[in-house]
Point group: C2
Chain length 867, copies 2
């Protein structure tokens, strides 16, 4: 017969699947000789059997439990229901994965009216015993029978007579459950075990598993352990401690304890615990033993441990140990320290850092003390990390002016557009009331490394009246707000911020990551400043250089507009000829910074109306300024207006309609590369990227335009340079027909923002609210604009890769959507075989780390399955 | 050795692939003993060899050609270059598929200075001989050497001296080609054969093949045939004739001839030919022989023949026969007549009608005579077939008022919206300056069977000034225009129209089609009127009943708006309760018309802002009317505004946010069905369709809402009816994850409009101009909104079917996009295994016919490959 119950001395930490996390660690501590109260674990397989057997516990398993109980009684010398040496136990669930929502803990199980009486006689401490019994009834009722704890608390306040309280508690139990409180400890035990098994399938647990892709058939284990008491007087205590400081990473015992208390008191927060260091005074011997055990556990687990312990009458008992959660700073310091200490190797050190956390290290953050007293007025989307505090301005010009006066500025808009760029540059942070995680504000802010809270729909922004409002709070121009791009919180008034420190440890870990990873990390950068920042962060090339932002500078927007307003090709070419030198200088600047690193430049992508004003007043002003009739301008604006600009006349469709734009851009790219090669002796091989392709012949058409232009330049100059032409895969049809598209493309770059928009039919500018609702209602696990939807969007990506390689086995594959800097997405990109990811400069370190972790996890998925 | 040249008596009509269409028919006519001038065909394989051999004709093939030439000389008793009996031949290309852009015909080949002289002596007819020689030089120069024909025509006008003209012609030939005009007939022949081979790969031919999926390696044949002369005097003539009238289908010889002329003169139109019936007088014997041959050919080919013939000195020669093109009316009459005559079976009769043509039969069309003198002022998209003539009105209210006054009206708008419905109902036809083939105007007009020209961007429509303008032509309110929904032409002024006749023959063919087809044909209908019309056209159910149009009636739009403006759920439910009875009556009306036919009802789909006004004035008016503050209304309008409404808060997303809307609609559907069942004793099993699903859990969420509502009704009434719940597949992700979606869906209905929009990233409202450019530039072969893009969109559909059936083998599959009425798409739907197509009422007959043809073609694709 299979074995369904293990004593603590029969298991080990590697039996997590069978014994659950808690049980495996209790067994491990027991096996290495630590003072763990004895007990046993009913396995997860018993739980599975329970469900297979129609939610009953097989009699053979019940017998096995009672057999182990007997062993427990023998080891402890105590006995269930015995009046001389009554055995009390704790019953705790413990699944292979930490799983909120399941039944947690029943303490003091084994007590009944008789044992309580006996214990009073034995200890002479009525208050301790009655307190324990009372707790037991309440916990049992709560976790086994689902009776609200509060029902008992109200009763407790009515009298001081401890015995009467017990009577009342049992009465409430009977009222609520229709049954007498069970007096038989065996019955109590089996009820508790069944309750743990049942809790595996309660609604919250099922949902949690569904959301976290945990199989339903794993089951939970049940840990039954002899009770020890931290509440037996001043020579007893209970506490939690870390082997190193989980906030700073400093190598020191860190934690707190509470004298004369049980574990739940520490959590409840009724009494204030003391720092662990003070234990030295109260329990000098115990403390030094604990120090020894902590060091031993850390060495044994080769990671910082988060421990629970109890001291009963000056004797130390270990109740739990597990790997500790930690801040980003601590994670980096601990990983590097432990590698230096020879405790772990570099790969393990790299795996110890959560890439999504390290963003914290690269940005300003709020001072923790100052934050404690702050109350948010609203919450938006955490669109770009960091914290910012400044005076509010509602338009770019005012923001710029304030910046010039030396003010710290937060730019607040309903939604930003390329025309707000100067204001965004001037601002410490940006807040918008509309738009999602990939709205203009979010994307640009991330690119600049500036804090941004987007889509904060609770706030009504009135750009004309220059005010923002949420509930009763009204903020006017010049008033201060503070925004947190990590949480999405918006606070009225000022909160102090702290600057980032890039410690030497951080640099060390990143170097290790670079040694491990095989996938390249590039950056999305449109100007030399961003490119330089990204190279400092370790970028190995540019994966996406957008050319549209370049046209918004004051000295060129006018020529851009003339180009758009041109009534024929000749006029358009004249305007383009004026833009050409600007574009060439843009690219030269970038090439100079990037040196011999690859640079991928995307041809003009946005619809042309983005370069024209939209309101009547702006149109009139611009018309006057340009010396044309407002009517002509208005006609053009109307002509270019689109119902769904996302799906309109943009991307390569512009190059099909106006090949002369693509020609000008190609000329700028190629001549810039040639000149920099000449001037700096750097070999540059630009990648020219044609966006929004959905049809093979569409790409062929634009490719022909680009190639013609290039060969004309080569002919004219008598010189040649290398170049590549490729496309974005951002339209579903491009992925579906990637074999055809690859005929004309030397590289694919996945534009997962647009690909996600079109695959889901979600406009990123409009669906902030919907996506929140969808994640709230568990329709979606993640915002697909943040982490690649591997089921749907991923299927298209994998299809595109397979088809593309069929046509062109060596096709270069990258990603330049925002997902390129999100850890899970980066790992996915590695798994499906991309050559590089590209992300905004501030995400480059995250991507480097995630790419290294992908390699390590891929080598041994079993070892690293618990993210 | 392979055989590369066939004499006419060696081939047959089944050798189309080897001999080309023309050659195969010449051989066939020869083999059944008709008077065909003798000749031979150089095969398509010789053409393939030509390319394989580096564009040279292998000497063995050349020898074979000269061998057959010898045979030709023997049969005709004439000889190349002979001064007594000079042989002249025609050289014509002929590929397996009719292919414009290829080299066509050289006549009189074999002439040179000497033979010309000799022929003058032989015939005594200098003018005939010199005319022939002149034509030969000109044609040879044109088709063999690419010299512009006009170069010669100018010369021809300079003198009347025939001999001098020849001298001049040869001089021009030399100037243009740098060579003397070749005098050796063998040289002439081989040059012509090579020219035909070369023309297979000229740019236009390659493009044509690419666009029509004709393999490049087929090659073209070359037909060499002894010349006969219709220009040898008044006892000679040439002509073309049909075995039946190709316009009316009447069984009568129909055609025209020209006395003393060569074939090209008929085409050139310099002289006016006489009706064929008059041949009886001029050539009584020849005519009766021709009648006999025509009848024989029709029987032989079992189809109406389009024949070319020449009479040389009272002797009849057949030069070509092929199946005739015909009008829709003729096609129907001929198919039915031939079936009655026992010439063809019903399947063949059904295949003889082009489904895309029969639309003509169901709508008004312009009087052909009246149309001849009309000149279009602009051309838009042929969005809904038919012709309309009426006074122009620029808003719905004026259109309605004019209609009430008894005027015929054409509604002209920049773009229509649901608020224009009443105006569209009142109008004969609709013209818009914006929007594509699936814009609101187009879709609604097709649904109503009204003529519509959409996206006519050449016309500037000023709705405020009430005028439309194109070039110099300005049309004001009340002025007449005429629009042609079959061509997209817009004409100023009035053109008479002709009403449709649904003849008995038409009904007969449709019955045959119904007997053959296996795929069901449903209709898209939102009201009893359309449903009734569709049933008359043969619809077997409703595949899409949109519920949104129902809310625009004056008596309910106000409650709809109250629902939208509700500040909480309670208020919303109150407004919904008022809408419930209206909805129920809508559905009852439809159920009553449809009786026991299946009815598929889609829950509310469009974004809510479509129900609110957008301009400041409209907002103020409505606010006053509703008794609310304009500010509140404006705030809501602003809140609901979306950047890309197509990808916004609509479809099932509405039902997720406001389950109470889905509840109300479900209640209306189910109680309506129950009441009609009760009242009429009809068993109704409604299909409830949840739109815009992209995520399995999204569908599960809404499905739960719908099912809860239904079980409440069943509980309350104590009665039950059958129903099905399913979804549209219109979001790429739904297709990609159809296995997951099918868990919750009993049917899939492909919404190919939206699926095409998102797969291509084309907003149908914005891309009319782009798509025109794309088809003009041959980037796209067809507008994918008209005919399903089987490569990309189709791949998603096939994937969805495969995945869906994996989960639910019996899942019901349909299509409700506009493609459901387009013949090629209908055939595609049959091939991929859909159970039904659904289309607007006026397209139902087309779909029925196309569905039947799909079955027939599928049984024997080889036989019916030439569409």
């Amino acid at each position: 017969m299979a074995k369904y119950v293990y004593s603590f001395n029969e298991g080990s930490k590697d039996m997590r699947g069978l014994l659950g996390g808690k049980g495996a660690n209790l067994a491990e501590m027991t096996s290495i000789g630590l003072p763990v109260p004895f007990g046993f674990t009913v396995t997860t397989e018993a739980c599975t059997r329970y469900y297979e057997d129609g939610e009953t516990i097989d009699s053979e398993i019940e017998e096995e439990i009672f057999g182990k109980l007997k062993e427990l009684e023998d080891v402890t010398g105590k006995k269930f229901g015995d009046l001389q040496t009554p055995l009390l136990v704790s019953v705790r669930s413990g699944s292979p994965f930490s799983m909120p929502g399941m039944m947690d803990t029943v303490l003091n199980l084994g007590m009944n009216d008789e044992t309580a009486e006996a214990m009073i006689k034995l200890t002479g401490d009525e208050s301790f015993v009655m307190d324990s019994y009372k707790r037991f009834i309440q916990m049992f009722a709560d976790v086994v029978k689902g009776v609200d704890k509060k029902k008992f608390d109200i009763e407790a306040e009515k009298t001081n007579d401890l015995k009467q309280i017990i009577v009342n508690y049992k009465e409430i139990y009977k009222q609520e459950t229709g049954e007498e409180f069970p007096q038989n400890p065996q019955t109590q035990l089996m009820e508790a075990v069944r309750a743990v098994f049942r809790s595996w399938n309660n609604e919250r647990a099922v949902l949690y598993r569904k959301l976290n892709d945990i199989p339903d058939n794993l089951g939970t284990a049940v840990n039954v352990q002899a009770m020890v008491f931290g509440n037996m007087g001043d020579d007893s205590c209970t506490g939690v401690a870390f082997t190193r400081n989980p906030a700073s990473g400093k190598r020191e015992l860190f934690g707190e304890f509470l004298i004369n208390a049980q574990g739940e008191d520490v959590v409840a927060g009724i009494r204030t615990p003391q720092p662990i260091s003070e234990m030295k005074e109260n329990f000098p011997d115990v403390y030094s033993e604990f120090e020894r055990i902590a060091a031993l556990l850390e060495r044994h687990y080769t990671d910082v441990q988060d421990m629970e312990f109890t001291v009963e009458k000056n004797k130390l008992y270990m109740l739990q140990t597990r790997n500790a959660k930690r801040t980003a700073q601590a994670a980096v310091k601990i990983a590097v320290d432990m590698e230096q200490e020879g405790l772990i190797d570099k790969e393990t050190a790299v795996m110890r850092i959560d890439p999504s956390q390290i963003d914290q290290l690269l940005h300003h953050r709020f001072d923790e003390e100052a934050l404690k007293s702050a109350k948010p007025m609203a919450k938006g989307l955490p669109a770009s990390p960091g914290a910012a505090c400044g005076a509010v301005y509602f338009d770019a010009a005012s923001a710029e002016a304030a910046f010039d006066r030396g003010e710290k500025v937060v730019l607040v808009r309903q939604e930003t557009s390329p025309e707000d760029l100067a204001g965004m540059v001037a601002a410490e942070g940006i807040m918008t009331s509309r738009g999602g995680m990939t709205s203009h504000a979010a994307v640009v802010a991330r690119g600049m490394g500036k804090c941004c809270v987007a889509g904060c729909s609770e706030v009504i922004v009135d750009e004309i009246a220059k005010s923002m409002k949420s509930g009763d709070i009204i903020i006017g121009e010049g008033d201060y707000i503070s925004i947190d791009g990590n949480t999405g919180n918006v606070y009225p008034g000022r909160i102090a911020t702290v600057a980032p420190e890039m410690s030497g440890d951080f640099a060390k870990v990143m170097t290790w990551a670079d040694e491990i990873r095989t996938m390249k990390v590039r950056t999305n950068a449109d100007n030399p400043r961003d490119a330089k920042q990204a190279v400092e962060f370790g970028a190995e090339g540019i994966g996406l250089c957008r050319t549209e932002h370049m046209f918004f500078d004051e000295d060129r927007i006018s020529d851009m507009r003339k180009m758009i307003l041109a009534s024929d090709r000749e006029e358009r070419e004249k305007a383009l000829a004026k833009l050409l030198p600007y574009q060439k200088e843009d690219f030269k600047g970038i090439f100079e910074v990037m040196e011999d690193r690859p640079v991928n430049i995307r041809l003009l992508d946005p619809p042309l109306h983005e370069f024209l004003p939209s309101t009547e007043k702006e149109i009139n002003d611009l018309a006057q300024q340009m010396g044309i009739s407002p009517e002509k301008l208005r006609d053009k604006v109307t002509e270019l207006k689109e119902f769904n600009p996302m799906l309109g006349h943009r991307g390569c469709r512009l190059a099909v309609t106006y090949p002369e734009i693509a020609k000008m851009q190609t000329e700028a790219i190629i001549t810039a590369a040639m000149e920099v090669k000449e001037e700096k002796n750097i070999d540059i091989e630009p990648e020219i990227m044609i966006p929004l392709v959905g049809i093979d012949r569409e790409l062929a058409f634009v490719r022909a335009t680009v190639e013609e232009t290039i060969s004309e330049i080569f002919k004219k100059t008598g010189k040649e340079i290398g170049y590549q032409i490729g496309t974005m895969i951002e339209i579903p049809r491009a992925a579906l027909t990637a074999d055809e598209i690859a005929e004309e493309a030397e590289f694919f770059s996945f534009g997962t923002n647009d690909l996600t928009q079109m695959t889901f039919g979600f406009s990123r500018d409009d669906t902030g609210k919907i996506l929140k609702e969808y994640t709230d209602k568990n329709i979606l696990k993640n915002d697909p604009f943040m982490s690649i939807d591997t089921t749907g969007v991923g299927k298209l990506m994998e299809m595109a890769i397979e088809l593309g390689k069929k046509t062109r086995p060596n096709i270069k594959l990258g990603i330049c959507g925002e997902h390129g800097g999100e850890p899970a997405s980066v790992e996915y990109c590695y798994r499906i075989g991309l050559n590089y990811v590209s992300c905004s400069p501030y995400r480059v370190p995250i991507a480097r780390l995630a790419a290294a972790q992908a390699v390590i996890r891929d080598k041994n998925p079993q070892q690293w399955q618990d993210r």
